[in-house]
């Protein structure tokens, strides 16, 4: 019952967030310089034609009017159509003319639905890798503050955070794919294609997990109940694994919720480098092409994902620590 009311409340708040995001992005895209119509119509198109198209598409209406129209669609599950991508799925670039013969444009929702699962697969795998790398070291660092595991965590974190993801991506491809030939790297042809990009992404996220874990484990180990557990006759292993880690996982969970956008940012670049056909690649292309409906759609979907992930994180945190209530 509480879960239901909690969900109702959070989803309502989430709707507000998504609305704010939509408005923010919508406004931003319309006040920054750069006319999407010129891109749609192509550089060679005459000015009158550009104005004509803009008028027809309602792009010269006041922003609130445009926004209202757009949100009206969004509520009905219609994120609009891409300015540039045709329904046939072709990517667009270069200077084409928006003549009468242009193909029907693709639905934003379809484009996102096609690519999102790929990105989810990538994100999940990288999360698994990141946890595999960061948890043992982070926990050891937290258990022995000031000693070598703590330092290892610190230096490893510094090292990882200094590695630009696109640099690391290339180095790893050269090593693991080109030199050793262990893994495929570019494009997507099956699950194996996800491993390398996920690894790169994992190394990008790991420092933050490392740091949070080190700090929170160290903090939990200072808690009264950890000290008391010894005198209550519990073994060290049990104390660390059943109590300390459980409590230390709450800040980690929260971090994952908050740093969601970090993950997404990484996904963007990594998908571009690896030519991985996910949401990130779609986003980069959309942004570079000024495909406004697509950018908006992606922003809405990602903020919805953010809201959902944070609800899940909070539910999980509550399950771990009942004090948090709902």
């Amino acid at each position: 019952m509480f879960v239901v009311t909690f969900l109702v409340r959070r989803l309502a708040q989430g709707a507000v967030i998504i609305f704010l995001v939509s408005f923010l992005i919508f406004t931003l895209l319309r006040v920054v310089p750069g006319d999407p119509v010129r891109l749609m119509a192509g550089g060679m198109a005459p000015e009158e034609l550009i104005e004509q198209i803009a008028e027809d598409m309602g792009l010269r209406d006041p922003i609130p009017v445009q926004f209202a129209r757009y949100m009206g669609g969004v509520i009905q599950g219609d994120l609009g159509q891409s300015f540039l991508r045709p329904a046939s799925g072709a990517a667009v670039g270069g200077a084409q003319f928006d003549d009468a013969t242009r193909a029907e444009r693709a639905e934003v929702l379809t484009l996102i639905a096609e690519t999102a699962p790929m990105t989810i697969q990538l994100a999940l795998l990288s999360m698994v890798f990141a946890l595999l790398i960061a948890t043992p070291i982070g926990i050891a660092g937290g258990l022995y503050p000031g000693r070598w595991p703590d330092r290892l965590a610190l230096y490893l974190g510094s090292l990882f955070v200094s590695l630009p993801n696109f640099w690391l991506g290339i180095v790893l491809v050269l090593l693991l794919s080109v030199k050793l030939g262990w893994l495929p790297a570019i494009g997507y042809g099956g699950f194996a294609w996800t491993i390398l990009p996920a690894l790169v992404l994992a190394i990008e996220i790991a420092p933050f997990i490392l740091r949070t874990l080190t700090v929170s484990v160290a903090q939990v180990m200072q808690e009264n109940y950890i000290a008391a557990a010894t005198v209550r006759g519990l073994g060290r292993t049990r104390i660390v694994f059943a109590h300390a880690l459980k409590n230390a996982s709450v800040p980690l969970l929260n971090l994952l919720g908050v740093q969601f956008s970090l993950l997404l940012g990484g996904v963007l670049v990594i998908e571009f480098i690896f030519d991985y056909p996910g949401l990130g690649l779609l986003t980069i292309n959309a942004v570079l092409q000024r495909d406004f409906p697509l950018i908006q759609g992606i922003a809405i979907v990602t903020s919805a994902a953010f809201v959902l992930i944070n609800i899940i994180v909070d539910l999980a945190a509550t399950a771990i620590d009942p004090r948090l209530d709902y």
């Binding site: 008391a228 010894t230 005198v231 109590h243």
Partner: protein
């Protein structure tokens, strides 16, 4: 004694680096006996308790001596065995039950976990049954349900009982109880003491009862050890120790003990002059908080923190407000200091309503109305130096220049007995007593007229308390302050306050002059409070007669009728349906109890000893 001692300590010395914490301690404890250990804070009593279970904090080392449990040397045991011995044979209950269990697991599961860790053979079901049975044995209501609840859902008293269950669940031969009643309300503390006594009888457990409160120890223990500066200075059976202390330290301890019923001339409670004007008037003040309900659509939960409080504080007097935790004292403090406005009613300071003052006017008023906070630890900003903390009010009110402020802060430090060298130090290094002096200095530097002391002395041991009380008296004589003491400490209030208001669940149930309250309480709750107060004197009221088991109802869903009815031995039908109004008892005194209704003749009144 013919029985072999359960535990025997010989020549135990514990040191932190070069500093000796415990010096050559020897003691022995027979099975089923209760040994009391008394000492003020810093005497090393907690270290001793922890040394007995071979669980010393990092940095402390046993340098000499041995601890034998049933003849085996505890200190040389292998780690795993020591751990099992610790949990199974020797139980330990600490002073702070609040953080002693993992907050993310239910109490029951942790009890089961503990039992199975020290007694691997026990099945889950068996462990569960035992835990529930013991929870019942320590008088936790509906133990089956409570078993599944989380630590944060337990009140302090219940948590302490749960910790006792945790220690007792493996049926240990020895229980080390380290200051377990200290954080509890007196009525709850009294219940715990009663419980300890039952335990020795019921489970044949020997208890080492460590406490800083001599009356509590004397009440419970057979023999008492007195620890001072890491050494045992005296060892006597309880009655003889109280009657004929041999060591000067013990004598001093007994002498400093505030008394309830006998007047030993340690200062007189300060009453106001008959014609003194009211400096602060509380007029029908109520305050209700709303807690977010579990459901977004459901009703908010209303916590009635203060209900219809109405009294005056007269200039020059010491006014006391007593009550147990949750009675609304803290809310009252916030209302009195104008931190929060009341929902209804008025708080008048010097005749002006605090709630309507803002900005500069309010700031000016605040110069004359100051507060000394309760917790010596969280009340000082941790990263500001002591000098700056004390000078802060001058800063805020833009009084004096830099030098002037520094001079005044240093003067004030001198007045409250803080070394000038501490000016640039951080509060971190200070003892609780010193911290409270900083608090007092900070409040007094503005030379206010009314000082509100919110549990200011609660965290201090009696020696420190006595010193600060002397300080307050001296400063009052010098500056002519009016004090409002908000406290749960009956003995302190008895010593200091001229008039006392007793609060229970948000209501001022009784308001009386000092003498009248103690010798002729008008409200059964006042009487229960008095009966529970630890004292070495012969008790005027026996707890058994005055208080029923159980804890105060939650202020969220108050039952109709008198709030105390559920714990009141004298309650009758009317009490459960109707909330008694205040019945005047002469002077400014009054109490809210139907027993005082002229229309009612109660057994209590008949039984009044001095009637």
């Amino acid at each position: 004694m013919s029985v072999d001692p359960l535990i025997e300590v010989r020549g135990l010395t514990v040191a932190a680096g070069d500093r000796v914490i415990l010096d050559d301690i020897s003691l022995s404890l027979a099975p089923r006996a209760i040994l009391g250990l008394i000492g003020e804070s810093g005497s090393g009593k907690t270290v001793l308790a922890q040394a007995l279970v071979n669980w010393l904090p990092a940095g402390l080392r046993i340098t000499k001596g041995e601890i034998r449990y049933r003849g085996r040397d505890v200190l040389t045991l292998p780690r795993a065995e020591a751990r099992r011995l610790r949990g199974r044979e020797i139980g330990y209950v600490g002073a702070n039950p609040a953080g002693a269990l993992d907050p993310t697991l239910s109490v029951g599961s942790q009890l089961v976990e503990k039992l199975r860790a020290v007694e691997p053979g026990v099945s889950k079901q068996e462990a569960r049954d035992r835990a529930i049975a013991l929870l019942g044995a320590v008088h936790i209501p509906s133990p089956e349900m409570r078993f599944h609840e989380y630590p944060f859902q337990y009140s302090g008293g219940m948590m302490q009982r749960a910790m006792i269950v945790d220690a007792m669940i493996s049926n240990p031969a020895l229980l080390v109880a380290d200051n377990i009643t200290q954080p509890l309300d007196v009525t709850i503390g009294a219940q715990i003491i009663k419980l300890m006594r039952e335990l020795t009888e019921q489970f044949d457990t020997a208890i080492l009862f460590v406490s800083s409160s001599l009356p509590t120890v004397a009440d419970l223990a057979g023999d008492i050890l007195v620890l001072s500066n890491g050494a045992i200075v005296e060892h006597q059976p309880a009655p003889s120790l109280v009657a004929t202390p041999r060591h000067p330290y013990t004598e001093k301890l007994i002498a400093e003990l505030p008394t309830l019923w006998t007047d030993r001339g340690v200062g007189t409670p300060r009453e106001h002059a008959p014609d003194a004007p009211a400096i602060m008037s509380i007029r029908q003040v109520s305050k209700t908080y709303e807690a977010a309900g579990k459901s977004p659509f459901g009703a908010k939960r209303r916590i009635q923190a203060v209900r219809n409080a109405d009294f005056d504080v007269f200039e020059g007097e010491n006014f006391g407000v007593v009550g147990e935790s949750g009675c609304g004292k803290s809310t009252l403090m916030r209302l009195l200091t104008g931190l929060e406005p009341p929902d209804s009613g008025q708080v008048l300071f010097e005749g002006r309503d605090l709630a309507v003052q803002h900005g500069a006017a309010l700031r000016a008023t605040r110069q004359r109305l100051q507060l000394v906070l309760q917790d010596p630890y969280s009340s000082l900003p941790p990263q500001t130096s002591i000098g700056d903390i004390i000078a802060e009010p001058l800063h805020i009110h833009a009084i004096g220049g830099r030098r002037e402020r520094r001079r005044r802060a240093l003067d004030m430090m001198g007045e409250v007995g803080l070394a000038r060298a501490l000016y640039d130090e951080l509060p971190a290094g200070l003892s609780a007593g010193q911290r409270q002096r900083v608090n007092v200095a900070r409040a007094m530097i503005l030379e206010p007229r009314l000082l509100i002391m919110d549990e200011t002395l609660s965290a201090l041991d009696q020696t420190e308390q006595a010193k600060l009380l002397d300080l307050f008296e001296r400063l009052q004589a010098q500056h002519n302050f009016t004090y409002v003491f908000i406290s749960h400490d009956i003995a302190m209030v008895r010593r200091v306050c001229g008039r006392i208001a007793v609060m229970y669940l948000g209501e001022v149930v009784e308001l009386a002059l000092n003498q009248r309250l103690f010798f002729d309480p008008g409200h059964p709750y006042s009487k229960a409070l008095l009966s529970a107060a630890p004292t070495l004197e012969e008790r005027r009221y026996r707890p058994e007669d005055c208080l029923l088991e159980g804890e105060p109802p939650s202020p969220i869903d108050l039952p109709p009728g008198c709030a105390f009815a559920s714990r009141c031995p004298s309650a009758f039908a009317r009490c459960r349906t109707e909330n008694p109004p205040a019945f005047p008892r002469g002077h400014h005194d009054r109490a809210e109890c139907f027993l005082l209704d002229p229309a009612h003749t109660s057994p209590l009144q008949k039984a009044r000893p001095d009637a």
